[in-house]
């Protein structure tokens, strides 16, 4: 009897509290939400408004712009490929095996996500520079010099992009029932066949999302690239670097190049809408 009374009181209190919270929401939460949205949109509006639309074809056809776009596409696709070829096995090990130091390994994998890219670039220099940890042998024995080369751009981009791939794929691998893989084994499939014919197809949607995310991150990479690979037109000057250089010379060219990056980013976002805006298929 007393318990039911208490229950009723609590329900009443909760209801009243709920109503008051609903009444408050528009004044504070809605205003802040609107400010947040404006904060994100106004710079984009500025970019679009300042863009010299009439001169756009000419600006984008300039050798610097074409070179930067070409280099950006080539290096970001290669970086996404490197991140996939190395990242998928790493994600598989993290998802399917238990070993000592697993948490440490996962921390290392996540590091490039939180590390300022310029620090990543410095780290790459100390490892692969001509006097670096590995770089000195690459140079002395094989004459290979990675910094300030196109290969260096790919490395810098893959370094920052890989965590996106690993995180997405590891999550997907944890989401599928490992007994599907066992069932495949009893049907005569070797571990290799299971990986390519069962595991990978079952996570294909996440795998594609991970590759696209890694590719988009590689495309926008700036800090690690300029630190490790420098800013040489035609060799290491990707689109973001070209935007930065153009700002000092021609504001219009910087705007035009920025617009290209914006268009690419929007396309990626829209193509991934199903996975990241809540409407899972």
């Amino acid at each position: 009897m007393r318990a039911s009374q208490r229950e009723r009181t609590r329900t009443r209190t909760r209801t009243r509290h709920h109503t008051r919270a609903e009444a408050q929401a528009p004044s504070l939460v809605m205003v802040l939400a609107f400010v947040a949205l404006a904060f994100l949109l106004i710079p984009l509006a500025g970019l679009l408004q300042e863009t010299p639309w009439s001169e756009l074809p000419g600006l984008l056809a300039s050798p610097t712009a074409v070179e930067a776009l070409r280099l950006s596409l080539v290096t970001s696709i290669l970086a996404a490929a490197v991140a996939t070829i190395l990242g998928v096995p790493l994600a598989w090990v993290l998802a399917r095996r238990e070993f000592r130091g697993q948490r440490l390994v996962r921390g290392v994998v996540l590091l490039p996500l939180v590390l300022p890219p310029v620090v990543g670039g410095v780290a790459l220099l100390t490892a692969f520079g001509r006097r670096g940890l590995l770089g000195q042998y690459l140079y002395d024995w094989f004459g290979i010099q990675l910094p300030f080369s196109t290969a260096g751009v790919v490395m810098a981009e893959a370094f920052v992009a890989m965590p996106f791939l690993v995180l997405t794929v590891e999550g997907a691998l944890r989401g599928i029932d490992p007994r599907f893989e066992m069932a495949a084994r009893t049907l005569g499939a070797s571990p290799r066949t299971v990986f390519f014919r069962i595991t990978m197809p079952m996570i294909s949607a996440s795998l594609i999302a991970g590759i696209v995310l890694a590719w988009a991150r590689a495309l926008g990479e700036f800090g690690a690239t300029i630190t490790f690979a420098g800013n040489f037109p035609g060799v290491t000057q990707t689109l973001p670097l070209a935007v930065y250089s153009a700002l000092e010379v021609s504001r219009d060219e910087a705007l035009a190049l920025s617009l290209v990056l914006l268009a690419v980013s929007l396309t990626v976002l829209i193509s991934l809408r199903g996975r990241f805006l809540g409407s899972r298929s």
């Binding site: 599907f180 066992m182 069932a183 084994r185 009893t186 049907l187 005569g188 499939a189 066949t193 079952m202």
Partner: protein, 344 residues
């Protein structure tokens, strides 16, 4: 012999030590409560986990024998497994699911079951479009497509709802009667075991506690678990000249003349309850009290304090008429011919 195995392995706190055989054409049910180690035995036979000691021979070939450093991975064992929730590959059609095994083994697919299991019209469907019963038949056809030398069924009917279970169980039974190699069924449902198996092996706490032909095991349960799932009561005691001195106290008169340690099996329906001392031919009559009353389908199960402690199954009308409730003093009777006795 499709399967001959002596499996010793430890999972968590359960140590499994069991000998299991299955002849060609034979269906063996591995019956036991959850956590008894049934699925572990199945996984060991399929090659999905290694055993600690003992041996597993399939079709006379040793596939796991730690002492001789033999371990054949699952893909080389020719064991077909039907998993509990079927595990059809969701990204493949029914046809691709069935073709997966033969393709891996580089053999021609065993197609005869596709028609026999009524799957011809479903070949281009995705698993998500199938009903539970259809999915089960596809999983069976997939397992059989590799021409396995032994078939393992893990709770083959547990994923089905009650209405389809009956029909699928009958289908499975007619299939198993045609299958030329051995089949091991893991189940915790005694009905599956009784309907599908030629022989029942009862596994409890990692050990085999009883085994024998299905009819014998059903008639003479020797363990409390088996008695409970079969819906009968077990009374252990020592018999002398047709009188059993029960271990839990009290005596039971039986029409069977066996001396020595015995197990008596009493169906709850055989026990009658009366308000006053019954006048009749029943030779076992005693006064007792009710400890527990439970609705059990169409009848009501009444647990009696004893001695000996037994359970009676009576109609709801009788419960009302006798005013049965926990604590009620009552008379119980059972005929000597309804006390079946087996030496333990």
């Amino acid at each position: 012999m499709s399967l001959a195995a002596h499996i010793t392995t430890t999972v968590g706190t359960v140590t499994i030590d069991a000998e299991l055989t299955c002849g060609a054409g034979e269906t063996v049910a591995l019956l036991g409560p959850n956590g008894a180690g049934k699925s572990t035995l199945l996984a060991a036979i399929a090659g999905l986990r290694a055993i600690d000691d003992g041996y597993i021979r399939i079709d006379s070939t040793s596939v796991d024998e730690p002492a001789r450093a033999i371990f054949l991975p699952p893909e080389h064992r020719r064991v077909g497994v039907l998993f509990q929730d079927y595990l059809l590959f969701p990204h493949m059609t029914v046809r691709q699911n069935i073709a997966f095994g033969p393709k891996n083994l580089g053999i021609a697919p065993e197609a005869e079951w596709i028609a026999a299991l009524g799957l011809t019209d479903l070949l281009d469907h995705k698993p998500s479009e199938l009903s539970g019963g259809q999915a089960q038949r596809v999983a069976l056809a997939r397992a059989l497509a590799t021409s396995p030398r032994l078939l393992l069924l893990d709770e083959p009917l547990a994923a089905l709802d009650a209405s389809t279970k009956q029909a699928v169980r009958a289908e499975l039974r007619s299939f198993l009667q045609q299958f030329e190699y051995g089949t091991v069924i893991v189940t915790h449902d005694p009905v599956d075991a009784l309907v599908l198996a030629d022989r029942i092996v009862v596994l409890e706490g990692g050990r085999i506690t009883q085994e024998g032909p299905t009819a014998v095991v059903a008639r003479e349960p020797r363990t409390e678990y088996l008695a409970t799932v079969l819906g009968v009561t077990l009374v252990r005691g020592v018999a002398r000249s047709g009188v059993i001195a029960c271990n839990a106290g009290g005596e039971l008169i039986t029409s069977v003349e066996i001396d020595g340690t015995v197990v008596a099996v009493i169906r709850p329906q055989a026990i009658s309850l009366h308000a006053g001392k019954p006048e009749g031919s029943a030779r076992n009559v005693w006064r007792t009290s009710v400890t527990r009353v439970d609705a059990h389908g169409e009848h009501v199960r009444v647990d009696l304090a004893g001695p000996p402690p037994l359970s009676a199954a009576i109609t709801p009308a009788a419960v009302a008429e006798l005013g049965i409730a926990p604590g009620r003093e009552i008379w119980a009777s059972v005929k000597a011919t309804d006390v079946s006795v087996h030496s333990a």
